[in-house]
Symmetry: C2
Subunit: 375 residues, 2 copies
């Protein structure tokens, strides 16, 4: 048995696609680029490829570090590597930055060939289905006819679901973690407040802020602060911060006094230094729209009838953003279609963010599932 370790130094790659793509909205991109990373080796029969789909603020940098940025560790590094639950000694793992993203794939910050200026607000709204469609082109490019597994948490889990519906013959296993078959009104409400924070920031300039040399940092900061409330459980926020204050006595002012205030401000400020507001808008719309059951009168079982993959579904007890009930809806619909489903409801205090942590039970069952795939 090997002690789990990192995939080590990795390098991002860029794939250029010159065939136009028509998006669900009807908008056409004349061509596009996707940033991606790979870890491990594709085996001879190309049967060991695993696609990792990212959530709202993730990227193609899923594991390892960059040679010139040793502190920039991939966002799911605890899950992916030699000896880890997704073991790169056996799997060829692909991470990709989604279309509309801000980590190098074509998105609002890219130059619009039609105008010679950055797309900004002219970049079309994309959907989960659009992301999966262009991920399939990347799979073609890499010579991967069928993924051993498509894996994703939260919004990434929606992409894993859509892979089994849009390309039922191209994915053998879908791992859907801390996800949901559709957003609730409350989920949409939080997204809407976040969008309004960005859209009404005077520095947004109708989405063409790049040309003004500013970013709508106030709005993006508020969006992220509120987001963090929904990523953590009430319990964990209580355990971690409670009513702890920085000073012993109240200051009767509006500086950060409670530790939770400092935490949120720090997270909000940090986010504005690396994430793009237009990408945030696009991504929250993709979340809102995702609803495979809608075309089937709300019948999720009917919607999932065309899936052929085996499923691993996991949820977390304290996740109130995408609660276990949402995962159970997926599980029931799959089981009623006669599919093979493994379901883990993990008792973890960390709320929605649990899917990013290395809870031993969660990693244990996920690793056991992956272990079975190649046997």
């Amino acid at each position: 048995m090997t002690v789990p370790s990192s995939v080590g130094i990795v390098a991002p790659q860029r794939a250029r696609f010159d065939q136009p793509v028509t998006l669900q909205s009807g908008a056409v991109l004349p061509g596009f680029e996707l940033m991606f990373e790979t870890y491990g080796e594709l085996n001879a029969d190309r049967s060991n490829a695993v696609l990792v789909c990212h959530a709202l603020s993730g990227s193609h940098h899923v594991a390892g570090v960059y040679a010139d940025q040793p502190g920039n560790v991939g966002w799911w590094d605890n899950l992916i590597g030699p000896g880890k639950p997704i073991d790169t000694r056996r799997f060829f793992v692909v991470g990709v930055n989604n279309l509309g993203g801000c980590y190098g794939s074509t998105g609002p910050m890219s130059i619009n060939p039609a105008t010679g200026r950055r797309y900004g607000a002219d970049f079309p709204v994309v959907t989960v289905e659009d992301w999966v469609a262009v991920q399939a082109r990347l799979a073609d490019r890499l010579g991967i006819e069928c993924w051993a597994a498509v894996v994703g948490g939260s919004l990434g889990g929606m992409q894993a679901i859509d892979w089994t519906l849009q390309f039922p013959d191209r994915v053998r296993h879908a791992l859907v973690i801390a996800s949901t078959p559709r957003l609730t009104a409350q989920n949409i409400a939080f997204n809407e407040v976040a969008r309004q924070a960005i859209l009404t920031d005077p520095d947004f300039h109708g989405g063409h802020y790049y040309e003004h040399g500013v970013v709508p940092a106030r709005g993006l900061r508020l969006a992220r602060m509120m987001g963090h409330i929904t990523y953590l459980s009430n319990d964990q926020m209580g355990e971690k911060f409670g009513r702890q204050m920085k000073q012993e006595k109240p200051g009767y002012h509006y500086e950060a006094e409670f530790q939770i205030e400092s935490y949120l401000r720090y997270q909000g400020d940090k986010f504005t230094t690396y994430f793009d507001a237009n990408t945030y808008l696009i991504t929250t719309k993709a979340l809102d729209y995702f609803d495979p059951a809608a075309a089937f009168g709300g019948d999720l079982q009917a919607a999932l009838a065309r899936a052929k993959a085996d499923f691993f579904v996991a949820s977390f007890s304290t996740d109130w953003r995408f609660a276990p009930e949402r995962s159970r809806e997926i599980v029931y619909a799959l089981l009623h279609n006669g599919l093979n489903v493994t379901y883990a409801e993990v008792d973890c205090s960390a709320g929605h963010d649990s899917f990013l942590l290395d809870d031993p039970y969660y990693h244990g069952v996920l690793g056991a599932y992956m272990d079975r795939i190649l046997r």
Copy 2:
């Protein structure tokens, strides 16, 4: 039996206090005014007076209508009136706008006698204890030595609790509804995002926006939109709005598409037309600071030991802002002090806002309790 009806046309009154008041922060107001309303008649032995304390956005206009504004119905009109649970044929009910408010009591919009300009951000942060202290001066003015009851929901419930601690001999019954003995980290977090929305609005001008002829409407709107998410339950939002869209097909734009988006925008916009941003800031700080147990090492039982009143405590099953667990903490602490406590946990789908609705069970138990007081 009389059919419940309105108290009818009411008129606000203004009380001027020329004695300075020293606030918890140490700040001194040289004098102040309180807006209040009364319904019913004070009896001969002055034993039937009920004080109603308001929550974040409430006011002294608790019941009835104004002669010139027949549509402006008091915010707790369903609870207070002839034949209603707080029956104005038997009780003399007093509503008061809190210090720091924006409905006529001295607050950030008032003229600072020291400068001749509006206080704005120079108005001191006030606390629940400060509010109760000046409410006691109003009681003195009205000749009320001891309230038959002090009643409040949410932040109003905190004031009812504080009355029993600050003036144990001046309140016979405290009715604490949908309240909490202290905010959780999550509660503070929501308040902090709301404050940051206001404080970072360019139209805030350091709290002196009145002089610039603007209001920080963007920030106040966002604060209110987010607030509404926490006032409703997830279930009720689902039942009321679900994923209903205004158009049949997605528009792939940022106009309001889902009904929940329209609802939140409407609520946010409306709020900015009548509420003051500085008052919003002050009031959220009062919420954050309230924690009677803090001075007793977190021991709520010890903190409530000096209370003498009988208590009516009510919570609502789907309230996730101030969940039933929070009310139970109050109940346990009171019972362990040997006090008389009536506790109702009301099964109601409307979340925190349930305390404003006329659920028959809720109004039934509250009415029965009030009925007992004068016997």
